[in-house]
Amino acid sequence: MISFDFDYYRAENAKEALHKYLELSEQNQNVLYYNGGTEIVTYARKNKIKFSALIDIQNIPECSVLKSNEKQIIIGSSVPLNMIIEKNYFPLLSNSCRGIADHTTRNQITIGGNLAGKLPYKEAVLSLLVANANLKVMTQNGITIKKITQLFDKRLQLKPEDILLQIHIDKGVIDLPYFQIREVKQSEIDYPIMHLVALKQNDKIKTSLSSLCAFPFRDKDLETIINDNKLTRLEKIDQVVNNLPVPISSNYRGGKDYKEMLFRNSLNSCLDQLGSEI
């Protein structure tokens, strides 16, 4: 059970939510936005997070949109992962979300929560990074739309009061060739120890990675190596491994050596499939 008391607010629109956040913060309240709640509930039960107020954003109309028009796919931040997977507007996104938690929990986990939560894996971000998606965000200065590549650095770089409303994906990317592989310690229902996503656009491979290192990333320098056709396959893989932005992390789920082996194999399969060299 959650043993501490807190206030619960439900916002009907983005402005109201943001104003409530600012108002409560001024009263020195410890406020969190509440979406699917899977992280908040599990951490609060163990007293690993504290808050005095929650603002539920699931009733904000923009946040529950899930549609595809001529130009783009629009996904509200409160849409559960299972709905995204079932609609399957963007197969790469579906596939990279399918490994998150289990089916029952994916009914509850929202894409916004996956991107903005505390857990470091953020697997939904991988396909959005390679697809160069746009994020629609409510800020104190009104609504802004920015490239995810500008907003994401280790985690979403938003101000505490900002609200991620929607994700916009250009429809030009949805049928491009892609590669996706998720490795786990053992059980499929587990956090990944390496998740690699790649998309091939205009003969260039774009890649993003989660869980291999301490945080998810897309790295232009690595893509330069991968797309450098003067290099042999083995040189590419060696150089990528040697030029990771941060070292491969070791933890209870997987040690550095094992993860590196999996990554090398995965990158090799990726290059097999998307064929960057002659």
């Binding site: 310690k185 053992q186 499929e188 209870y252 094992y258 194999n265």
Partner: protein
């Protein structure tokens, strides 16, 4: 014509409640005026408690009392009394209960427990059983020499040895000298959890007249009653322990669990009822789990591949408290060799203190542990000799006329292990090869593991049965077997129906155990319930039959010996049309004029283990084993050489269970055990950081086999009757886990052509072994 109820797949009587979710477990029961407890547990593996500040917690809303270890600073336990209900002066493992809050609501208790401030001074911790034996290791129990223990346990004060059981049989030194083949190996695996569906809980209340009432998720209500009486100086008869059906025990709910703590909690608030319910995390680390093991194994064999000797050192990791674990290490000594004929044996089985969560009974009770190291060693020996491992097992399988490690004779009741091996080899298609390449990335591999088990229980272990009648002639079997999911109660009904020749729907059985109204029973553990309570039920049925005949003989005016009881009637055997209905006899027979005779029939039955004896402390010689169940198990896996992952495709098991009382229930029980054994080997076990804190104390991280990860299961039985078992049956409850870890590890070792000597068998471990193996080459 007699009707047969034994040997049929009767549906279990508790099945409907369970599948519909209507089964009420302890936490579902309502109690008036209940108070709730919440526990603060240790964040350290080993530390001195410098100070506990409870003021703020005491002033928290709804709080009735805050307790720390000094309220009852006395160690208690079953086999070795070494653990106080709340830590005293020191904490010895991560998760050890340090303080308790009693409050009006669960939320009040939880809130207040956060307000307790404890100052610790961290101490060096002992991180493995081998390390616990080193000179520089801290002694975890300075007071070991003063702890109460049973005579069969040999603690060594001023060391971390809670028990050492020695077996000396034949002349191992001579065997080693003359051996043609010798293998010498080391193995290890960590302690872990049972992961029973239902977390442990207890409710204690002390009534105004001093009567103590305990509700508990216990497998051993009589043990709880007797230990509370002993430790708190309460007359035994004043204590009543009630055990409702529980959601899985697997050994983890035997012995003393939360009951002692619940009792002092209630006592501290004037006897009001207090409930304590483990959260999942507490159930995993604060309450005991399964034991860990490190082992040295040396096996010698002659030219013809006969095993000539074994030299075994078992170092069990009991964790911080060894109360129940001391008997696990003893059980492992009794069965040390696995089901092999070994005439020359040295075995030292140590139960050792470490700063890990402590261990208690776990399904298999020392046997799943020893079987892993023995079955792996047998495969390694087979490679050394260059013989098929199944053939090696057939050559050395124990059989009638051989002796056990404690030198007791495998008598006429010995099961047919060779038939089990052959059947299992056939089920797994052993003839298709132990490793077969499918493509560049994948191989199919097979592995086998044998099992044997005997209960390692007190020599006077007993069971009882009482049969009472209803006015429709139906019977109630009062028994003290706890329903833990095993289905024994259904089998007991079958036994009574068979003896009384009465339809099954006329045989009712009590579902909860009440130590005031039920007959005495040692514990629902050691796979002895069907055998012992079954014998008691037969005994009670015969007693009831005799009484029915006695009254009927008076009414029918014929000799008692001319009567038969069947079809709810007592009739003259040679003239069956002369009869009286049981319903007209069972509560006394009433003549037409109103005179009544006979009174109600109460069948009484009991059973006590026969001819068991203690072991010689120097050589282990003795007869500690009630009966032996033998079997062979195997798995088939598909192994991915790219990422070292694997799928378990098929698991097979053949056991000689004497007589199958209920085939569906028996298969269910064995299948469940096989799944548990696979899960144990594949992914379970605690992972510790460098400070000995458990890193996977949640089900998010402690992985058990999931629904989609199960193989196809194949279960067969051989029936060599157990002369003293009910209808020839012997125990089968735990046994299915025992051979699985060895079988799985053997299959994986075959797949990668490297000897895996650890558990759990996660891909990264296999990868490391292969990598290191190649480096050695």
């Amino acid at each position: 014509m007699t009707k047969s109820f034994v040997g049929k797949s009767i549906k279990r009587n508790d099945g409907l409640d369970k599948i519909s979710g209507d089964q009420k477990y302890l936490d579902d029961l309502k109690f008036g005026g209940l108070l709730y407890a919440s526990i603060l547990s240790s964040p350290h593996a080993h530390a001195e408690i410098l100070n506990i500040d409870i003021k703020e917690a005491e002033n928290s809303p709804g709080v009735k009392r805050v307790l720390t270890g000094d309220y009852h600073p006395h160690a208690m336990g079953l086999y070795l009394g070494d653990k106080p209900p709340l830590a005293v002066q020191k904490v010895r493992y991560y998760g050890e209960p340090v303080a308790a809050v009693i409050a009006k609501s669960k939320a009040d208790a939880e809130k207040a427990v956060q307000k307790i401030r404890v100052k610790y001074k961290k101490l060096n911790s002992v991180s493995s059983s081998r390390e616990s034996l080193k000179k520089e290791a801290p002694i975890l129990h300075q007071n070991l020499k003063n702890y109460n223990h049973i005579p069969d346990v040999v603690p060594q004060p001023n060391s971390n040895i809670a028990n050492l059981t020695k077996i000396r049989k034949g002349n191992y030194q001579k065997a080693a000298k003359e051996a043609k083949y010798v293998i010498k190996e080391k193995f290890k695996f960590p302690p872990g959890d049972h992961v029973a569906m239902e977390n442990r809980s207890a409710v204690a209340e002390i009534k105004a007249n001093g009567d103590v009432q305990i509700y508990s998720t216990t497998q051993a209500p009589f043990v709880v009653k007797e230990l509370l009486a002993f430790n708190f100086d309460i007359p035994t008869g004043k204590i009543n322990v009630i055990a409702p059906p529980i959601g899985g025990g697997f050994g983890g709910k035997a012995g003393l669990q939360l009951e002692g703590l619940a009792y002092i909690l209630s006592k501290s608030v004037g006897g009001k009822p207090v409930k304590i319910v483990n959260k999942r995390e507490d159930d995993m680390v604060s309450s005991p789990g399964h034991i860990g093991l490190e082992a040295n194994v040396t096996i010698t064999a002659d030219e013809q591949a006969n095993i000539t000797g074994m030299d075994l050192q078992y170092y069990f990791d009991a964790g911080a408290y060894a109360d129940y674990a001391v008997n696990v290490s003893r059980a492992a000594a009794i069965s040390a060799t696995g089901p092999y004929r070994v005439d020359n044996l040295n075995c030292d089985s140590y139960c050792l203190y470490t700063n890990h969560p402590f261990a208690t009974a776990y399904r298999g009770f020392g046997h799943i542990e020893l079987a892993y190291v023995i079955e792996r060693s047998i495969d390694i020996l087979a490679k050394k000799i260059d013989i098929d491992p199944v053939k090696l097992r057939l050559i050395n399988a124990i059989s009638k006329g051989d002796t056990t490690p404690t030198r007791s004779l495998m008598d006429n009741n010995t099961g047919d292990l060779k038939a089990c091996i052959n059947k299992t080899a056939e089920l797994i298609n052993w003839d298709q090869g132990s490793v077969v390449k499918i493509d560049n990335d994948k191989v199919i591999a097979r592995g086998m593991g044998l099992l044997w088990k005997s209960p390692a229980m007190p020599t006077n272990t007993d069971a009882g049965a009482i049969l009472t009648f209803n006015n429709d002639g139906s019977v109630n079997l009062h028994n003290s077997i706890v329903e833990i999911g095993q289905g024994t109660k259904t089998a007991l009904r079958q036994i009574v129906a068979e003896k009384l020749q009465m339809p099954l729907n006329k045989v009712h059985i009590t579902s909860e155990v009440n130590t005031k109204t039920g007959p005495h029973d040692w514990a629902t553990a050691a796979s002895r319930s069907l055998m012992m309570a079954g014998r008691a039920a037969i005994n009670a049925s015969e007693d009831a039959i005799q009484q029915l005949k006695n009254t009927a003989a008076r009414v029918l005016r014929c000799p008692v010996e001319d009567l038969t009881v069947a079809e709810q009637k007592v009739f003259m055997t040679d003239e069956p049309n002369i009869f009286i209905k049981v319903r007209d006899l069972c509560l006394g027979y009433v003549y037409e004029n109103g005179n009544a005779i006979g009174g109600q029939i109460i069948g009484r039955g009991n059973y006590i283990a026969r001819k068991l004896s203690s072991m010689d402390p120097k050589t282990g010689e003795g007869r500690p084993a009630l009966e032996w169940t033998l079997g062979a198990q195997a798995v088939k896996i598909e192994f991915n050489l790219r990422n070292y992952s694997y799928e378990i495709k098929k698991a097979a098991s053949t056991m000689d269970v004497g007589k199958v009382i209920n085939p569906d229930l028996a298969r269910g029980q064995v299948t469940g055990a096989m799944a548990m054994g696979l899960s144990f080997a594949r992914s379970e076990g605690f992972s510790f950081n460098s400070s000995n804190l458990v890193q996977n104390d949640t089900l998010r991280d402690y992985k058990i086999l999931r629904y989609g990860e199960h193989p196809n299961y194949y279960v067969e039985f051989i029936e060599t009757p157990q002369g003293d078992g009910p209808f020839g049956a012997r125990g089968l409850g735990e046994q299915g886990v025992i051979g699985m870890p060895g079988a799985l590890a053997n299959a994986i070792s075959n797949a990668v052509n490297q000897e895996i000597k650890e558990l759990p068998l996660i891909p990264e471990l296999i990868y490391k072994n292969v990598k290191e193996g190649h480096n050695d080459d």
